[in-house]
Symmetry: C2
Subunit: 245 residues, 2 copies
DNA sequence: ACAAAAGTGTTTTCTTTACACCCATGG
DNA sequence: CCATGGGTGTAAAGAAAACACTTTTGT
């Protein structure tokens, strides 16, 4: 079998990045721009998710990994396939049709959507091939295709999942403060959390390990740094059967 | 556009049914059987999920609904798209290749997997076109393709989801006893639950409504019947932000 | 009257929530 | 010495867990 693209199948990647400085949860989007050849008027000018067709000999997961690597250079980031989008009309608004025709791909394309978790600081966005930019999840720009819906569904999944699994640490640097963790939860969930109760809860976890280190270069009292131990987490993990309906 | 099948795309349906009598959670599987034309020896003889290719003008959800209807005659059942399976080698063990060649479909088929929740009693399995049979989730027969994996992942999703959403009632008749609910949780989660604590918890929910009715035709003390009100549930539903990692 | 499952209360423990001030550091 | 965010404890309320006997019904 030759290694061709599967014309009607793609992956799309919702790349979430947390910015510890501004305390915002962001999505990495690429520019979609097309001009009229004669008038030079922009025909399409908005943002979309990064994505690409799947190769014939490639698994869906590998495909998503490849797309992320091409966009960011990163590998080994947390990744989750969260939904397939395949409505027959999903690429059929006016701008999308212009774009699709220009790019010569199938209008009935099914996309397998993934989301990734990483740190904004890990991506050099300054001279990115795709003109990728971070956008706060709460201030999304004009977005093409059905990608806004895809982003929002990814975000819902993230919100649910971060309550029951320690995926939050994928969005933080290896060394973080308790307040970083709180800020992150507050950004994702859009809620306020009591600092004392939160600290107690987090610090009591055996897999949150205090380091012999404090913040440096901050113009205030430097905070204690912690790390997350996945090993310890997995060792002490106990499935909860608490029914909460 | 003609209404053709999309050759490399299918949906597969994991149909869960709870049997209130035997107190078992079951999966509906269809027979896969093929004989050698000359020797009449069985070449393939096992079970698979029901599934079919998606039509060009059909959404993924509609496709799954159609497949369920063809199998069971039922519509309007609880349905969830839970994962896409698209490994390039997913249909490539020996029996699968024999089957695939016989059925002339693409070996690189991506399937969008759904699960459905219903009551075993709602399906007339006796003279089913597909020789469909209920199989207890804990005693699955020999299963073809990658469908065992698909079933197990559906089951994992169901286990998680039934802890935080009232989907359990999709598996029960409209009128049920508290012990029915407990039996169902115990079957799904494979755990034992304290009856007194469980009753208290469930009966206190405003959306669990006691009826002016008791069981009839049972050879023991007849139990109080209840119903689940989705309306009330949605009205009083409050998103929980409890962090439990 | 007996078998079989339905139904019932209390206590202990754990978890969550609410709440306000002092501390350490860099500038 | 001051501004800034870091860090701390206690009490009350609510939820979960542990636990054994009585009641109702059909046969």
């Amino acid at each position: 079998m030759t290694n061709e693209l599967i014309q009607n199948l793609s992956v799309d990647c919702v790349v979430f990045g947390f910015d510890t400085n501004t305390k915002t949860l962001n999505v990495l989007l690429i520019k979609r721009y097309l001009e009229d050849e004669k008038t030079n008027q922009p025909l399409v000018d908005d943002y979309v998710l990064t994505g690409y067709h799947v190769y014939q000999n490639e698994s869906l997961d590998d495909s998503a990994t490849r797309v992320l690597k091409e966009l960011t250079g990163l590998t080994g980031q947390y990744k989750k396939q969260f939904k397939a989008f395949g409505d027959p009309n999903r690429l059929k608004n006016e701008k999308d049709l212009i774009w699709v025709e220009n790019q010569r791909f199938n209008v009935r394309t099914i996309t397998i959507a993934y989301y990734f978790l990483l740190k904004t600081e890990d991506v050099d966005v300054s001279n990115n091939t795709y003109q990728a930019k971070w956008h706060p999840i709460n201030q999304l720009p004009k977005i093409g295709f059905d990608h806004k819906q895809i982003i929002l569904e990814a975000y819902e999944d993230l919100k649910t999942k971060c309550l029951s699994e320690p995926i939050i640490f994928e969005l933080l640097p290896d060394k973080f403060t308790i307040n970083d963790v709180q800020d992150l939860y507050e950004s994702i969930l859009n809620i306020e959390i009591d600092n004392r109760n939160f600290r107690r809860k987090v610090i009591n976890k055996k897999y949150i390990i205090p380091l012999d280190e404090k913040q440096v270069g901050v113009s205030k009292r430097p905070a204690q740094l912690y790390m997350f131990s996945k090993d310890i987490y997995q060792k002490i993990y106990q499935k909860s059967y608490l029914i909460n309906i």
